[in-house]
């Protein structure tokens, strides 16, 4: 990603630099050539429509090109690859709480293996923050009350700055941390310590404790829909709309079940608004996602990391 952004940036520097140069040169040349002299009068020129059109239309096309290029990069930045390792991020004044799908928890530090796509599923406990890693050229605001996502792939081991980029109060400038990019072997060593078990397993426990299982059963007998394979698939709603179940949809289904009713079911699910911490919610979401099969978080992360490392890391930073 970094490479793409820099390429566009350099392209823009060149294009705008050339335009600026052109104008500066004209300005200075005219300024010198046509300075006031005795008995020489300015030549009145009305204007020229062809010229006006030229210098509106050419910039317009240049702009369109810049737009298109920028949009392509953005689209990539905003669509995480499907098999990325997942990290749940909870921001609060003034710290980052990160939890790997495998269950490791960290504060203000994120360890990741080199060459592996990492997807961040982020929410905030209080105000808006913004997850910013300049070296990876990624930034995404982290909002209370919903998920936002971002992704990146680190291509060189090292320690990188993590900043909070959205002003969030007194210690905004202290809400910083680091991304520690490790070689696969080191990473594995790091991973082996301190896990409380995969997030989806925690989620499964919560699912049972809160009684979700009473309605959402793995057969078709429950009062609620069977959640197997729901995530990532289109859901037909009672009002006729169809939408793809993403993290935000799962989240909303738990917190405000009345908002979108699944077709064919009665709106009997109670709201869990105010009953769950962000961490529990994340675990539930991770669990529901794990029901949709080959997702990371069931421990396959390590394997993938190895595979990626085996491919060798392309350096694009």
């Amino acid at each position: 990603m970094a490479g793409n952004v820099d390429a566009l940036f350099i392209f823009l520097l060149i294009v705008t630099g050339m335009v600026a140069l052109l104008i500066f040169v004209c300005l200075l040349f005219f300024a010198a050539r046509y300075r006031q002299r005795a008995h020489v009068h300015a030549e009145q020129i009305e204007g020229s429509t062809p010229l006006e059109l030229t210098w509106s239309i050419i910039p317009l096309f240049v702009f369109l090109a810049i737009f298109a290029w920028g949009a392509v990069i953005y689209f990539k930045e905003r669509t995480p690859p499907r098999d990325a390792a997942e990290v749940y991020v909870v921001a609060k004044q003034w710290m980052w709480k990160l939890e790997h799908a495998e269950g490791q928890r960290e504060i203000n530090e994120l360890h990741i293996p080199v060459g592996r796509d990492v997807k961040l599923i982020m929410t905030s406990q209080d105000v808006i923050h913004s997850f910013y890693v300049p070296a990876f050229r990624i930034k995404q605001d982290v909002l209370p009350g919903r998920y936002t996502t971002a992704w990146f792939r680190a291509t060189k081991p090292g320690i990188y700055h993590l900043f909070c980029a959205e002003y969030c109060g007194t210690q905004h400038s202290g809400m910083i941390g680091s991304i520690v990019v490790l070689e696969p072997a080191q990473y594995e060593a790091w991973m082996s310590g301190g896990s409380t078990g995969p997030l989806s397993v925690t989620g499964e426990k919560v699912f049972a404790e809160l009684g979700c299982v009473t309605c959402h059963r793995s057969d078709a007998q429950g009062r609620g829909p069977n959640l197997q394979g729901v995530f990532g698939k289109p859901v037909l709603l009672q009002d006729g709309r169809t939408l793809v179940a993403d993290e935000n949809y799962i989240r909303e289904s738990i917190l405000d079940p009345g908002a979108k009713i699944v077709n064919g079911y009665k709106p009997v699910m109670p709201t869990f608004q105010g009953l769950l911490s962000e961490e529990q919610l994340n675990a539930l979401v991770a669990y529901v996602k794990s029901l949709s099969g080959a997702k990371p978080g069931d421990g396959s992360g390590k394997a993938n990391a190895d595979a990626a490392a085996a491919q060798g890391s392309q350096v694009n930073e």
């Binding site: 405000d256 079940p257 009345g258 908002a259 009713i261 009665k266 709106p267 009997v268 699910m269 109670p270 709201t271 608004q273």
Partner: protein
């Protein structure tokens, strides 16, 4: 006020045709300026309410069920009556402008009075509605509590997210409150117009205040014309 300046009011006090303000060339120019000024001001007002309409639009689409349920608790009867009252007042206003143009002083006074009566009626009914909401604990705040009325034939309404119902009432109060504030300002203007009319200040050649005061009143009416269906008439068929 610098002494070089003669205001319309002072000029009128001298008993002759209200003087032209010093910086205008002719009365027509002064009239056109005033009316254009009012129109642009109303455009500003459109955007002022526009921000609220925007918030309302977004939330109503996002939380349709909750908004619909909350809307059921508003009284259509009172809302409709108020709509009629306000439309009626628009009629009396336009008749007042007409009377002013034709120099019918008594008629003008009568219409202005009628407008004031109708405007006050509107506010009175609004006050009744507010009181009802207050009694029902539908006013946002710590005491807020909302139980949706279950409509017949639809035993299974989706559960209501209290926060979104509360949000509906927040918007309801802000929007109707701001509208009512405009009504109160309008009533102030019309009381002033009434006094002026009573004193016979308006002539066929000088009635701009009635005219632009009227524009303002109609605008407030138009806002209500949208508020009524938006707030009161969501999915009544349930």
């Amino acid at each position: 006020m610098s002494d070089s300046q003669t205001t319309a009011v002072q000029a009128a006090a001298h008993g002759h045709d209200p003087a032209l303000l010093h910086h205008f060339a002719e009365p027509q120019q002064q009239r056109d300026a005033a009316s254009l000024g009012m129109w642009w001001f109303l455009a500003t007002e459109v955007m002022f309410f526009g921000g609220l309409f925007c918030a309302y639009l977004i939330y109503r689409l996002q939380h349709f069920n909750d908004f619909a349920a909350a809307s059921q608790s508003l009284s259509i009867k009172l809302g409709a009556i108020n709509t009629a009252v306000l439309i009626g007042s628009s009629l009396t206003v336009v008749l007042a402008v007409n009377a002013a143009q034709r120099a019918k002083r008594n008629l003008l006074v009568a219409y202005l009075l009628l407008t004031l009566v109708l405007g006050s009626t509107f506010l009175g009914i609004k006050a009744v509605e507010y009181t009802d909401k207050f009694k029902e604990h539908h006013v946002p705040g710590p005491t807020f509590h909302f139980v949706p009325e279950r409509m017949e034939g639809h035993p299974e309404q989706p559960p209501i997210d209290q926060r979104h119902a509360e949000m509906f009432f927040s918007l309801y109060f802000v929007m109707t409150g701001l509208h009512a504030l405009h009504m109160i300002v309008g009533i102030g203007i019309f009381v002033w117009l009434l006094v002026m009319a009573w004193k016979g200040r308006f002539t066929p050649s000088y009635n701009t205040p009635v005219e632009i005061g009227g524009l303002y009143w109609h605008f407030v009416d138009v806002v209500w014309i949208y508020l009524f269906p938006l707030l009161y008439l969501i999915s009544r068929h349930r």
